[in-house]
C-alpha cells in the first residue's frame, strides 16, 4: 500500500526486485557520491581520522618524543577532574564566552543599528573601518595589542599616565587578575566588526514598509530599534551569538600570542592548555584527553547552532 510519498518500488519485497531496486538507487545516487567523494575523502583524512586517533590516544600515557605508549584506560580523564589548571582554563573560556557575547554581539548589534538607520552619511567608510580588524591575522592583532599593553612603551599606559593615574604595576598581561580582561579586549576589538557585518545584513533586509508604518504611528528611532529592528533580526542575532560562543570555546591564537597562557597558567584556555601539555610538558596523552573534552563541548555548541539555524 502506498501513501503516495514512498515510491511503489520501495514497498515491493521480492528479492529479485529488491536487488534491482537497490541497483537503481545506487545508480540514482552514484553521481551525488562522486561529487561529494573528494570532500568526503579530505574530511575523513583531516577530520574523522584525527578525531578517532585522538580519542584512541587519550587512553594512553605518552610524550611527543616518547616512542613507548602505555595504556592507562580512563586515567587521563580522571586526572582532568583533579586538575585545577584545567578548571581554570575552562573558567577562562567561560569569561571569554560571556564577555564576547556581551561585547562583540552587544557592540555589533549597536554598531549595525547605527550604521543601518542611525547615520545618513559615511556608512561605507564606517563599515570598512569596523570590519578592518577582521581582515587582520590574529597573530598581527596579538602583536599589535602586545605593543598597546607594553609596560614601557605601550600607548595604554601612556594615556593612563597622562591622566595622572598609575597603570597596573604588574602590567596588563602580567597581572593574573587582569590578564583575561586584557585578552578579551583584544579579541573583542578584532571580532565586533565581524558580528556587526552579520547583523547588519539582517537589519538591511527588514522591510522598509515596517518603518514607514511605525513613522505614521509616531514611533521614534529608539522605538523602531526595539520593536521592529531587533525582533525581525532576532534569528540573525541568535546565529551571531552561536558563532561567537563557538569561537570562544575554541579560542587559541590570541591567547597564545599575547600570553601563552601565563603568567603561571592564569590565562590558560582549553586550547592553549592542550598545546601546553602536548608541547611544553610532553604529556601528549593527557593533551589528547583534554582535546576530546573540548570536542564534546564544541559538538554541543555545534548542535545548538544547527538547531537554531534550522529554525532560521
Amino acid at each position: 500500500m502506498s501513501n503516495g510519498l514512498i515510491p511503489q518500488s520501495l514497498l515491493l519485497n521480492q528479492p529479485a526486485r529488491k536487488k534491482r531496486v537497490l541497483a537503481g538507487r545506487w545508480y540514482e545516487y552514484r553521481d551525488a557520491f562522486i561529487l561529494v567523494a573528494p570532500a568526503l575523502i579530505i574530511f575523513s583524512i583531516f577530520v574523522i581520522y584525527p578525531v578517532i586517533n585522538t580519542i584512541q590516544l587519550s587512553f594512553y600515557e605518552y610524550g611527543l618524543t616518547d616512542p613507548n605508549l602505555e595504556f592507562v584506560g580512563f586515567q587521563n580523564y580522571e586526572q582532568i577532574f583533579q586538575d585545577s589548571v584545567f578548571w581554570r582554563a575552562l573558567r577562562n573560556n567561560g569569561i571569554i564566552l560571556v564577555g564576547s557575547v556581551l561585547v562583540q554581539v552587544g557592540g555589533g548589534v549597536i554598531l549595525a543599528a547605527v550604521l543601518s538607520r542611525g547615520i545618513r552619511w559615511g556608512k561605507t567608510f564606517f563599515r570598512t573601518l569596523h570590519f578592518a580588524p577582521v581582515m587582520m591575522s590574529t597573530v598581527a592583532v596579538g602583536v599589535l595589542w602586545q605593543l598597546i599593553y607594553d609596560p614601557g612603551v605601550g600607548i595604554l599606559n601612556a594615556i593612563i599616565k597622562a591622566f595622572g593615574l598609575r597603570p597596573p604595576s604588574q602590567g596588563w598581561l602580567g597581572d593574573p587578575n587582569l590578564v583575561m580582561f586584557a585578552i578579551l579586549a583584544a579579541a573583542c576589538w578584532q571580532y565586533t566588526g565581524y558580528v556587526m557585518t552579520i547583523v547588519l545584513a539582517g537589519m538591511e533586509s527588514v522591510p522598509g514598509e515596517l518603518y514607514e508604518a511605525s513613522a505614521l504611528d509616531g514611533a521614534n528611532e529608539v522605538q523602531n530599534f526595539f520593536y521592529i529592528t531587533l525582533p525581525v533580526s532576532r534569528n540573525v542575532i541568535i546565529a551571531a551569538i552561536l558563532i561567537t560562543m563557538i569561537g570562544a570555546v575554541k579560542v587559541f591564537d590570541i591567547v597564545y600570542v599575547l600570553t601563552r597562557g601565563g603568567p603561571a597558567n592564569s590565562s590558560q584556555v582549553i586550547g592553549t592548555y592542550i598545546y601546553y601539555n602536548a608541547f611544553t610538558v610532553n604529556q601528549a596523552g593527557y593533551a589528547s584527553a583534554i582535546a576530546v573534552v573540548l570536542l564534546v563541548i564544541a559538538i554541543g555548541f555545534g548542535a545548538l547552532q544547527l538547531r537554531f539555524t534550522r529554525q532560521i
Binding site: G63, T65, D150, P151, Q170, G171, G174, R260, A264, N282
Partner: protein, 433 residues
C-alpha cells in the same frame, strides 16, 4: 651539573691544536643533512657562512639549515624527533633536555667519533662531561654560556656608583638609582626563563650546591626532598630585589627581547642576562657597559659557595635515526674546529668551547674579561630548568611568576614544588620510592 672552571683554565694553557683544520670527508653518495638550530640574527649568519664553507670542502654533503627562535625551537625539535622525519643534526642544552632524548633513544652515540676526531683533547672536559651519560657522549659542546649583570657605565659614573661587592650592596645600588629616578634593572620574565636564572643562582648561594644537586636529581629520601628552608629564603631574595625597586614594572608581562631593548636604549641601568647578548651589544655598537657576576650573599642564611658561576654549555647532537652518521659527525667536527671556533668568536662575541679560539687578537676585551673571570670561580651551576625533571621544572617556572605576582608566598611556592617533585620522584622510581 657542576663545571670545574679551573679545568677551563687548564685547557686554556695546555690545549693542543690537533684539530686545526677539518678534514674533508670522503663521502661518495650525495647526502643532505637536516640541521635544526636555535639561532638569532647574530648566530645565523655565522652558521650559514660555515655551512657554505663545509659544503665547499665536501661537495657530496648538503646541509638543510633550519633556524628557530628560543620558544619555537623547543616545540619544533620535539615535533620533529617524534616524527619519522627527525633532523640529522640538532641543537640542544645539557641536563634533562639531553637526558630525556637519551632515554628515549633519539640520540646517536658520539663516543667513537670523539675518540677518532680527538674531541677529548680539544674541548673543555667539563663541557663534554655535561653531555656524557653512563660513559657515552651524546653531544658536542660548541659554546659556554654564563650569566652576568650588565651595567651601564655611563649611568654608574653619573650616579657615582661602583660595582656592588655583596648582594646587600646590590640592593643599595637599586635604592640609589630609584632615588635618582632611574629604573635599576630590566627583567623580562614573560617566557619564564629569566626568573629561573635568578632562582638557579639564589638556590646555589642560599641552599648550597651539594643540597641542590641532590634535590635536583630527585634521588634523595622523599622525607628530605626540597625541604631545606633555604629554598624559600632564596625565593625571598627575589622578592627582596622586587621590594627594593630593583626591577622595572610588569616583569611577568615583559619579554626578554623587550628587556634587552630597555637596556640598549639606556632606559635601565642594569640587566641580568647571559653572555649570549654580548653579540647583540656589539651589533648595536653599545660599548659603555661593564659586567659582574651575581654578588655574594654575606648573611648567615647563605650556605653555598659564594664564588660560583651560573654557567652551562650548549651543544650539537646527532639523531640516532640519521642515515648519514659519518657525514653528520664530520660536520660537528668542523663546527668545533679551531678556525671555525675563532670565526664563531669573531662573528658572535660568544664564549668558545676551545680555549685556543680566544686570543688577544680575536674576541672583544669584554669577552676576554668574562673568560678570565670565569677562571677565578670555584665551580658552577647550570640552569635550573635545564637540569630539573620536566614537571618539576614547570612547577618552578610557574611558581616564580606567581611569587613575583604576589599570588604565592615563598613558602607556598616551595610546598607546590615539593608536591610535584614527590610525584616525579615516584614516577621515575627514584629516592627509594
Amino acid at each position: 651539573m657542576r663545571y670545574k672552571i679551573s679545568l677551563y683554565v687548564s685547557v686554556l694553557i695546555v690545549l693542543v691544536s690537533a684539530l686545526s683544520f677539518a678534514p674533508a670527508l670522503s663521502q661518495d653518495a650525495p647526502v643532505t643533512l637536516d640541521f635544526f638550530f636555535l639561532g638569532d640574527e647574530i648566530t645565523n649568519p655565522f652558521v650559514e657562512e660555515i655551512i657554505a664553507a663545509f659544503e665547499a670542502d665536501n661537495p657530496n654533503i648538503a646541509i638543510n639549515f633550519q633556524s628557530y627562535p628560543n620558544e619555537a625551537y623547543k616545540t619544533a625539535i620535539q615535533v620533529s624527533l617524534g616524527s619519522d622525519d627527525a633532523p640529522d643534526i640538532l641543537f640542544n642544552w645539557n641536563g634533562e633536555d639531553t637526558g630525556r632524548f637519551v632515554r628515549e633513544g633519539h640520540l646517536l652515540d658520539l663516543t667513537p667519533y670523539a675518540e677518532s676526531f680527538g674531541w677529548y683533547d680539544a674541548i673543555n672536559p667539563a663541557a663534554l662531561d655535561a653531555f656524557t651519560f653512563n660513559g657515552v657522549l651524546y653531544g658536542v659542546p660548541y659554546s659556554l654560556e654564563a650569566k652576568y649583570y650588565y651595567y651601564n657605565t655611563t649611568i654608574f659614573e653619573q650616579q657615582s656608583l661602583t660595582v656592588p661587592q655583596t648582594f646587600d650592596e646590590l640592593l643599595q645600588v637599586c635604592g640609589t638609582l630609584r632615588d635618582a629616578g632611574i629604573t635599576p634593572m630590566s627583567f623580562g620574565n614573560q617566557e619564564r626563563w629569566e626568573g629561573v636564572h635568578y632562582m638557579t643562582i639564589f638556590n646555589q648561594k642560599v641552599v648550597g650546591e651539594e643540597t641542590i644537586l641532590a634535590d635536583y636529581s630527585l634521588d634523595v629520601s622523599p622525607d628530605t626532598l626540597f625541604t631545606d628552608p633555604g629554598y624559600a629564603i632564596a625565593f625571598q631574595r627575589l622578592l627582596d630585589m622586587q621590594n627594593a625597586g630593583c626591577f622595572a614594572d610588569a616583569v611577568n608581562a615583559t619579554t626578554p627581547d623587550a628587556a634587552l631593548a630597555q637596556f640598549l636604549v639606556q632606559q635601565v641601568a642594569m640587566y641580568y642576562q647571559g653572555t649570549w647578548i654580548m653579540g647583540n651589544l656589539s651589533a648595536n655598537d653599545f660599548a659603555n657597559y661593564g659586567m659582574f657576576r651575581m654578588p655574594p650573599m654575606t648573611d648567615d642564611a647563605a650556605q653555598g659557595n659564594q664564588n660560583y658561576a651560573l654557567l652551562g654549555p650548549i651543544s650539537l647532537q646527532v639523531s640516532s635515526s640519521t642515515e648519514a652518521p659519518d657525514a653528520a659527525a664530520a660536520f660537528l667536527n668542523y663546527f668545533i674546529s679551531q678556525p671555525v671556533q675563532q670565526r664563531f668568536v669573531e662573528m658572535t662575541n660568544r664564549i668558545p668551547v676551545r680555549a685556543d679560539a680566544l686570543t688577544d687578537e680575536i674576541g672583544t676585551p669584554e669577552l676576554r674579561n668574562v673568560v678570565s673571570d670565569l677562571a677565578t670561580t670555584e665551580g658552577a651551576v647550570a640552569w635550573l630548568d635545564v637540569v630539573l625533571e620536566n614537571s618539576v621544572s614547570e612547577a618552578y617556572l610557574n611558581a616564580i611568576q606567581e611569587v613575583l605576582a604576589g599570588t604565592l608566598t615563598p613558602t607556598q611556592a616551595m610546598e607546590n614544588i615539593r608536591t610535584v617533585a614527590l610525584d616525579a620522584q615516584q614516577s621515575l622510581g627514584l629516592g627509594g620510592s
